[in-house]
Amino acid sequence: MSDKKRVSRRQFLNYTLTGVGGFMAAGMLAPMVRFAIDPVLKTKEGGDFVSVASVDELTNEPQRFEWTIDQVDAWYESEVQKTAWVYRNENDEIVALSPICTHLGCTVDWASNEEYPNQFFCPCHAGRYTKDGTNVPGTPPTAPLPRFEFKVEEGMLYLGETKDSGGGA
């Protein structure tokens, strides 16, 4: 055993302090890095598409489809019922409209008012929307009904989140 291989008190203290200090620095930096790249790691909640109906069921007349999703808020985890009015337009494209009135959030119905058989009607304040979801001027709503994002896979219609149609009549 030569003395050269022995660790001196000074070296030992150096190593230990560097080691412990390194750990402490890493412990402080890791959460910061995590915060910095957090948006990248975050999974998008509620962005999933849900199978709602078979494409064969869709007609030119808007039909009401219902499904439930699990919604996680800060305090509650709950099942929320979602609804959409879905139909095929003249160009055979699928249109999925949210039934939530853009005025104050009531649920609109298709052709529920006899005077306007080809419009969406809101029972709360007689708000109206044409078949493509555009709000009728002179009625309370100021924006068109939002549309659901959708995709078709293996004959099933999947709906995602709503996006504003933009504009407003």
Binding site: H103, C106, T107, P123, C124, H125
Partner: protein, 151 residues
């Protein structure tokens, strides 16, 4: 609209459009083992009902906080309910509905300053079952039609 921060914030500037209140009347008797389960079920059912109606007519109906009272104390409660109603009318709300499964309120309807919406309800059952769900949906639909008749 509900008694929550988000909804009340939205309510104040849009007051003119929201003219209807539903106050759920919920009886309970914590000292009675026989009645406890039934009353708890009726309370759950009442909340499912009123939440469903509120969701459909969010822009016109305000759902008040639940009005709880001791089972069988209707005679002493009419005055307190009327005090609630007066406060709501100050807003101004024009249509006040009292939603309950407790048939004893029918007898006191004349003294109350709101419309009693009494629904027979269900004696027992499973709140999650599909039968209960279709029952509630069907009944809630008819109640909404009744409320619309007042508008």
């Amino acid at each position: 609209m509900r008694w929550t921060k988000a909804d009340t914030t939205q309510y104040i500037p849009e007051k003119q459009y929201i003219d209807t209140v539903i106050i759920p009347l919920i009886p309970f008797d914590p000292g009675n083992d026989q009645q406890m389960v039934k009353q708890a079920f009726q309370r759950e059912l009442n909340q499912v009902f009123t939440n469903l109606i509120e969701k459909e007519y969010k822009g016109r109906i305000f759902l008040a906080p639940d009005y709880h009272y001791l089972e069988g104390s209707q005679a002493n409660e009419t005055e307190r309910i009327n005090r609630w109603i007066h406060k709501f009318k100050e807003q101004p709300f024009h249509h006040i509905f009292l939603f309950t499964f407790d048939s004893k309120w029918k007898k006191y309807e004349a003294e109350l300053e709101g419309h009693v919406l009494w629904v027979p309800g269900m004696g027992s059952g499973d709140i999650q079952s599909t039968e209960t769900q279709s029952f509630v949906k069907e009944q809630a639909h008819q109640i909404s039609e009744l409320i619309q008749a007042y508008w």
